[in-house]
């Protein structure tokens, strides 16, 4: 098989409603698609085009547009090419369907996204805590979660100018750039 996405696949994909295909490379295709049509697309790519490997599902939080972007990375061993299917879902309530019935590894990716972004996947086998078993706060990868504020509220900081350091500073050593300078946000 040639190492490009075959033309017939391109033609077939054009039939799906609300689809936009951008060829980034001979072996890399980006597909933007309406959220409702994604299971159909995956079914097609898996069943008819050999994209049997779901490498990852990633999530992007577009807080200004009040949307989550889900990216499904699919790899074909036959044509050695990558398809990334992008969808946008509403940030509230942040619910989407699971693709576990098509790709079993999706269970872990979906569980991870649920933990980090709070997106709920209907039909996913397990939506319980995955990595952050000690975490009781909001999903930490959401843009509205201010990690720095949470840290400043939870933890105390060690003194950066202790007495013993002054002696070293007098002798020409010590801290070159203070943490306060480093931590000042760029205007």
């Amino acid at each position: 098989m040639s190492k490009t996405v075959t033309p017939w696949l391109d033609n077939l994909l054009q039939e799906i409603e609300g689809i936009e295909i951008r060829r980034k490379d001979s072996r890399r295709v980006r597909i933007d698609i309406a959220a409702d049509s994604l299971p159909t697309l995956l079914e097609l790519l898996r069943g008819r085009a050999g994209y049997v490997h779901l490498s990852a599902i990633t999530c992007v939080d577009w807080i200004d547009e009040s949307q989550f972007e889900l990216v499904y990375q699919l790899w074909s061993y036959e044509s050695q090419s990558l398809v990334s299917a992008h969808i946008r879902i509403a940030r509230e309530p942040g619910v989407y369907v699971s693709v576990f019935d098509l790709y079993q590894p999706a269970a872990f990716f979906e569980r991870d996204i649920h933990e980090m972004f709070g997106v709920y996947f209907e039909g996913s086998p397990d939506m319980s805590k995955f990595i952050l078993t000690e975490w009781n706060g909001p999903p930490p990868m959401r843009k509205e979660f201010d990690s720095e504020a949470w840290v400043n509220e939870t933890f105390e900081w060690k003194d950066y100018q202790p007495d013993w350091l002054k002696e070293i500073t007098e002798q020409g050593g010590g801290i070159v750039k203070t943490p306060e300078e480093t931590r000042q946000k760029n205007p």
Binding site: Q104, A107, P125, D126, S128, L132, T133, E134, W135, N136, G137, P140, F145, S147, E148, W150, V151, T154, F155, E156, W157, K158, D159, Y160, P162, W164, P179, R183
Partner: protein
């Protein structure tokens, strides 16, 4: 390093009559400082500097420092790098399993004040709030020379009987436990009976028990055997709870 105000108790009851006692104490301390088994809990990137420090190039073993496989046989707990809150629980469990005297070394900037992960929600910032740290080796990451230098420093401190962080853990257990509970929640508990150990070593001070240890006793549940499941096949159903 911050000076910690440790109340010094007068030795209770028996006064020492053996004139050779101090000699033996010094001998014991010398031997202790020359045979240190270290348990390196490789939490972060600093662990990468330990293999060269241990193996033939810098050869830590000539100082009597060797890696050890289990916490119960180890003297030093090396925390090499950032400690996530999840890891910190395991670190504390490991530390409490070790037999006294025990020493904790915090390697890398992350154990001092969070390091480059200072704004991360997932890492604990100051290790010495949760465990008594005897020595910090700062750097990101410290070179093997710095690690060895730190080890030499710890040896000196053991010989001069200054490395008494483990006593501090018993004397001020309530404070350490309070910080642990602040992170892990009120129902945090470990299998070790630290208060019992403190009274066994005759190290129970006014800071050993307090409001946090009372909370611990209120929330204490009897220990249950940990359930282990071996799963063969692709079923992803939840099979059991993980007990700590």
């Amino acid at each position: 390093m911050k000076e910690i105000d440790i109340p010094i108790e007068a030795s209770v009851g028996q006064s020492r009559t053996n004139p050779l006692a101090r000699v033996f104490d010094e001998l014991v301390r010398f031997c202790r400082s020359r045979s240190m088994f270290m348990l390196h809990y490789c939490t972060g990137c600093g662990a990468i500097e330990l293999p060269p420090a241990m193996t033939s190039r810098f050869d830590m073993e000539r100082l009597g420092i060797q890696p050890m496989v289990t916490p119960r046989q180890a003297d030093i707990l090396l925390i090499t790098g950032y400690v996530s809150i999840k890891t910190l629980k395991r670190v504390i469990l490991t530390y409490e399993q070790m037999g006294s005297p025990k020493y904790v070394i915090g390697i890398c900037s992350c154990t001092v004040n969070g390091g480059m992960y200072w704004q991360s929600y997932a890492t604990a910032k100051q290790l010495d709030q949760y465990l008594p740290v005897d020595l910090y080796i700062a750097g990101c990451m410290p070179r093997p020379e710095a690690v060895l230098e730190g080890m030499r420093k710890l040896m000196d401190r053991i010989r001069s009987d200054e490395a008494d962080g483990w006593k501090d853990y018993y004397r001020r257990y309530d404070w350490y436990l309070g910080n642990q509970q602040h992170l892990f929640g009120d129902d945090w508990q470990t299998p070790a009976d630290v208060i019992g150990e403190a009274s066994h070593y005759d190290l129970a001070g006014p800071g050993t028990e307090g409001e946090h240890t009372r909370l611990l006793q209120q929330c204490q549940k009897p220990l249950e055997p940990q359930q282990t499941f071996f799963q063969i096949g692709g079923s992803l159903e939840k099979k059991g709870e993980f007990h700590e």
